[in-house]
């Protein structure tokens, strides 16, 4: 299983949100780090087939994702940064809805929903309206919908937003367990979220990939990931 991103670019008028982005991924967790407005979400939206790149290619197991997005969509899990819900649906109803759109059969879906609600500690609130959920609970529903189809490629944009420390730990453990046989792209600007679980880290600034490698290499000459990240961003700014 591999995801190949080649010379990817996304322009909005004269603004280059993502520029000349090339990366090859295999099973494991890629931690995508970058300051606000670095182009992480735009990159994620392109990888999730929500928006098309201006130029460049994305290949998943050899298939051109831009030309044939449905092949990837069947096996994709995506949690956008600003994840929304239908406030008057219950968690179960909402997950049934998203599951049906993902093409999961009714019987499989019901079992999968029950399992995910249990895993994400939401079983007690399964039939409550989502409008009454706290931010953390909503985020967990978002994570559940991303995992519904047991995705081979999981893209999560700021998944820890709104989660308390216990929930963050639970999510990190879940993602680490899942990463053995799938590709997970975990976007964040909080270094501690990915420091312990990422198999590789990519640092993005102003739409460009400024640094990429295994965590040990990246932090070799620094006092932790945060310092390595800040230095990489500062160097990129200087070079620009």
């Amino acid at each position: 299983m591999k995801l190949e991103i080649e010379s990817l670019e996304k322009r909005y008028g004269s603004l280059r949100a993502v520029a000349d982005f090339t990366l090859r991924l295999e099973p494991g967790i890629l931690g995508l780090l970058g300051p606000n407005g670095a182009g992480k979400s735009t990159l994620m939206r392109m990888l999730a087939t929500v928006t098309k790149p201006t130029s460049g290619t994305i290949r998943f197991n050899g298939t051109d994702v831009v030309r044939s997005p449905d092949d990837l969509r069947r096996t994709l899990g995506y949690l956008p940064q600003d994840f929304g819900i239908y406030p008057h649906l219950s968690a179960t109803e909402f997950l049934e809805y998203i599951g049906a759109l993902k093409g999961i059969g009714r019987r499989t879906l019901h079992g999968r929903i029950a399992m995910l609600l249990e895993t994400l500690n939401l079983s007690h609130a399964a039939s409550r309206a989502l409008g009454g959920f706290s931010g953390g609970m909503r985020q967990r529903v978002g994570i559940a919908q991303a995992l519904l189809n047991d995705p081979k490629l999981l893209i999560v944009d700021e998944p820890t937003a709104g989660l308390d420390p216990e929930e963050r730990l639970r999510l990190r453990t879940l993602l680490r367990d899942m990463a053995r046989d799938r590709i997970i792209i975990f976007s964040t600007h909080i270094c501690s979220d990915i420091e312990s679980i990422a198999t590789r880290i990519a640092i993005v600034n102003r739409g460009k990939l400024v640094s990429e490698g295994v965590p040990a290499t990246l932090i070799a000459n620094s006092d932790g990931l945060e310092e390595a990240y800040l230095r990489a961003v500062a160097e990129a700014r200087q070079a620009a």
């Binding site: 929500v50 928006t51 998203i98």
Partner: protein
């Protein structure tokens, strides 16, 4: 099978989300009340459906005919605004981005949403059927009780019409420039045009593809019974919703007997609806434009430069009248109101301004009316901006949010009304036309107050857009007593403004407490 399951899930989730909102129950309650009003008693001051002064005795068949025609017309207008939010909801809640990453086909998504639209509208039609049955018993004009004679025309006439409305609402949501307020205005005029098209001539012989509302189908059934009683009656003399003593005669309509061809003709509209859904699916952007809709270039107001001068003059005056800093808030609200208005918007407004200046007194009302339909999308922001832009949490905790910010918003709307009717003001002032000036002043207060009340109550721009369009159509355009630009009716509109402002404040207070 998976595709059907996806379409079903889409329609179901959307339907559940809509029907669990209190607005849905409010809509059903309004439908129920309107339904009951469709069958006025014999001594009522209005009638809903007459043919050349004839009204049918309230048996099931006549009630079926009345409800079918009036419901088809009413639902095709008002219900459009009620259901035109299926895709927008996914955009606003950002569920759309998750949907975009699933393999669901564009057509399946469009069909699911159109189905949900249709079912919401069908539930309103269902309420009307129940009301029709109950009202026959309440009025008690006829012992002939045959529910099928009510249900059948409702199914054949109303359901195909609302299928078209459901599909067109979806189509409007997929076309970027018809998605918002412009689309609401365009639909209103398209509906008026379709009325003319459907009723323009050859009554009883209107081809199926022009009989979108199914009215001719009903008339073809009713007409033979009336002709037997009065061979001189005119089939094209139809009155829908008239006031005064218009009922001259009563007759018994024995009932509907639809031919297979009638059924096929009406079913054909479902195929048309499906074709519209297919077009909508082709246009649908699959939420790819959701993230960046605003222009990267900061928008500058046309009057940005003279703003400082204007501020120097108006702020002290407004402050003296309403308290410290109020002038600055009013100007800020005025800027927000006009933000996004393009150069051509100002150019057309200027054109209307000049038209008022030189208009013949006979058409002055229409000139002001035209000038006051132009800022409809600006006024529709009043009272809604905080809910629409999710700024309630910032705006509501400010100092005296009603006395200052809410009042400033209203005043900005009034200033806009006065500015756009400036040509008429200049026209009337030198001649000492007090009545004309009074009309403009009352109208300039009434319209933004109506906008503020509608916005504060509903939290959306749509309620004002539809209410105002209707009022504008029957008022200034047709010069009835609803003409809010006429000085003769100014006292009535001043009183209405007072009631509306009370309502607006009450609604805003509720929102303040809920925030």
């Amino acid at each position: 099978m998976t595709r059907l399951w996806a379409i079903y899930a889409l329609a179901r989730a959307d339907l559940l989300e809509r029907t669990r909102r209190y607005q849905y129950f409010a809509t059903l309650a309004v439908t129920l009340i309107v339904g009951a009003l469709l069958l006025p008693p014999r001594n009522a001051a209005y009638a809903t459906f007459l043919i050349d002064g004839y009204r049918g005795v309230y048996n099931s068949a006549w009630i079926g005919a009345t409800f079918a025609i009036v419901s088809s017309l009413m639902l095709s207008l008002f219900a459009f605004y009620n259901v035109k939010s299926a895709v927008e909801r996914d955009r606003q809640t950002r569920v759309g981005e998750v949907i975009a990453a699933t393999p669901v086909a564009r057509f399946d998504y469009a069909l699911g949403k159109a189905l949900s639209n249709f079912l919401v509208l069908a539930s309103m039609a269902g309420v009307l059927v129940v009301v029709a049955i109950v009202m026959q018993l309440v009025r008690g004009e006829s012992g002939s009780f045959a529910p099928a004679q009510i249900v059948l025309p409702m199914v054949l006439v109303v359901l195909p019409s609302i299928a078209i409305v459901a599909a067109v609402a979806l189509l409007f949501e997929t076309i970027p420039f018809l998605r918002g307020g412009i689309g609401n205005v365009v639909y209103f005029f398209a509906w008026i045009a379709s009325l003319y098209w459907a009723f323009k001539d050859d009554v009883l012989h209107v081809p199926w593809w022009r009989d979108i509302f199914g009215a001719d189908l009903v008339l073809r059934q009713v007409w033979p019974a009336l002709k037997r009683i009065d061979p001189r009656a005119k089939p094209d003399s139809i009155e829908l919703g008239t006031s005064g003593d218009m009922v001259h005669h009563y007759f018994a309509f024995p009932g509907f007997s639809f031919a297979a061809s009638d059924v096929v003709e009406r079913l054909a509209w479902f195929a048309v609806a499906l074709a519209i859904v297919a077009v909508a699916a082709l246009i649908f952007d699959r939420f790819s434009r959701a993230a960046r809709t605003a222009s990267a270039r900061p928008h500058r107001l046309l009057w940005e430069r003279p703003r400082a001068a204007l501020q120097r003059v108006t702020t002290p005056l407004l402050d003296a009248l309403f308290g410290s800093d109020f002038g600055a808030i009013v100007l800020a609200e005025l800027r927000l109101l006009l933000r996004g208005s393009s150069l051509w918007w100002y150019a057309v407004a200027a054109g209307f301004w000049i038209f008022q200046l030189f208009a013949d007194p006979k058409v002055e009302s229409i000139a002001i009316g035209l000038a006051w339909i132009w800022p409809i999308l600006q006024w529709s922001q009043l009272g809604t901006r905080e809910a629409v832009n999710a700024t309630e949490q910032f705006v509501y905790p400010t100092l005296h949010p009603i006395r200052r910010q809410f009042a400033a918003q209203w005043l900005a709307g009034v200033l806009l009304a006065l500015a756009t009717a400036g040509g008429a003001l200049v026209h009337f002032a030198p001649t000492g036309n007090v009545l004309g000036l009074g009309g403009i002043l009352a109208g300039a207060i009434f319209v933004p107050t109506l906008a503020l009340a509608c916005g504060a109550i509903s939290g959306t721009t749509r309620l004002f857009e539809i209410v105002y369009l209707l009022l504008w159509y029957v008022g200034p355009l047709n010069r009835t007593s609803f003409d809010f630009t006429q000085g003769a009716y100014a006292p009535g509109f001043a009183l209405a403004s007072l009631l509306l402002v009370t309502l607006a404040i009450a609604a805003r207070k509720v929102r303040l407490q809920a925030a």
